[in-house]
Symmetry: C2
Subunit: 341 residues, 2 copies
Amino acid sequence: MAADRPPRTTVTSYDVARAAGVSQSAVSRCFKPGASVAPAKRDRIMAVARELGYAPNAIAQSLITKRSGLVAVIISNLTNLYYPEVLAELSRRLDARGMRVLLFALQAESDVDAVLAEVWRYRVDGIIAAARLLPAQLAAIAERGLPLVLYNRLSEGEPVASVCCDSVAGETLLIDRLVAAGHRRFGIISGPADSSVSNERVAAATARLALHGLVPLLAPGQFDHASGRAGLESLLAQADGGLDALVAANDLMAIGAIEAARARGLAVPGDLSVVGFDGVGPAGWDSFRLTTIRQPVQRMTEAAVALLAERIAQPELPPERRLFAGEFLPGASARLDPCPE
Amino acid sequence: MAADRPPRTTVTSYDVARAAGVSQSAVSRCFKPGASVAPAKRDRIMAVARELGYAPNAIAQSLITKRSGLVAVIISNLTNLYYPEVLAELSRRLDARGMRVLLFALQAESDVDAVLAEVWRYRVDGIIAAARLLPAQLAAIAERGLPLVLYNRLSEGEPVASVCCDSVAGETLLIDRLVAAGHRRFGIISGPADSSVSNERVAAATARLALHGLVPLLAPGQFDHASGRAGLESLLAQADGGLDALVAANDLMAIGAIEAARARGLAVPGDLSVVGFDGVGPAGWDSFRLTTIRQPVQRMTEAAVALLAERIAQPELPPERRLFAGEFLPGASARLDPCPE
């Protein structure tokens, strides 16, 4: 392979320095994020570097600096409508700090061991994980001193830096509004059993309903459209006296449930109120106008990147959990005004 | 930093060999994809490697092998509903071949120069680009001997390996079916002006309409839901005699247009037929049941990875364009049976 590459890739910083009439260290500083070089000098050096085709070798640099500039981003649910926006925002913000995304899109949660083997091999500077990590996996990461930030997941082992949207506050608000408007017969569609986000949302909704003296019917889901449909069917089959309100653990299942309800001739929200969680794009479309909680993705991704960058610079920083309130989107898929009766 | 990492990362293949009672080259072969090691021996070596916390350093290896195992995936439109599935499939398939995704999610097409600077720095083995590359950028990639595969983009410079869905065949089929069913007054909503996919689809639809003696009205869009809505409004404002059929350059705009039509009291397809392109998840939802062309994402991503892997192994292979027929999804958003009149 090496012989196939043009000789251009062997241009060194010394060649650039000579051609630009500056010191090698000035060239080096031009390619180091945050290092100071006078603007005019930088422009001249960069023009020469471009002309000669010089690019610093990040890989060779990393052996010296012990920084690869790579951040492993592990996502278990990329085709969920929520995560593409998260990934795009993480990528943009890491980029702005001179870090690159080494992407691991999990097919199944059981892939995590294989992913971690690659993470070690590439000497990443840190990990942002929107995936379930088992205690042994968390311990292996900690043992290597690798900074880790969990995104919308809770640690099942030792405390770890994390960024979450406040599921408890969000579900509490939704339940209180629905109960105040007269809803009494509730159904909940949960996400995958191993999803801490789903478990937290379902537990919060159930606990709040209990405070109101209500017990919901439950149906299991998978965070996708089809299981939202199936979940509604299952709940209606269980509900002798019918259903007033459906609480789905995410928007995509709420949308599936709305479509299933309509297919059965039920009006939403006339016959059934439906609420979701996330605030994904389609939730705002005319066809659904979903009553939901929007996660503040901009602020959450910025926080995740900031937590990680701090810990790359100072690995001894203690774990910190940053919890963001979601934004209530009233939409039009739930009756929220008190019934006149 | 180095001092903060536990000493465990300095375990070498020689340490593993000694502890497992095998040669260093046997250990090395265990971590080389495709190299042969007897299963029992491999199990013993891997158990010892795990116990000692040994992981080969991919970065140091890459300086010797001149292969980083990294593939740059450049995507300009990650929050478009189509690309998350593409990215998940590319990731899975590259992974199966022992390659890792270095992700570049573009905010604006103008970021490509900055991305390429990083691509050189990380000594990637190849590039898969679903983004617009200018002739000078293509030339810079070629000059470095870097294998490149374009995904759903046409090269604007020298021929390059590419994988595309056949826009011409897809649009031709849609137009023929619509014309056969009696539609005469057409509107087209295009994607971004610099998108080769949009240009190809719009040109194909327009050319086919011309063969039928028809000239469509045109509205510019941005491949998103909002511009589908705005596009429909613009077309209706232009269309004195009304509109029979709307051809959107992607599904997301078609969905926006359907919602805008309904908001004006137009029935789809009763008053207006709407067709899209891509076959994204929401196109199949009850609320839309879009008449569209589904891109064969599985086969296209497999082809992209295969084309790239071949060119990493044999850089001298000539460019090849692989064009896949889309699958016609009849849906229910267009009247496709001939009018009885």
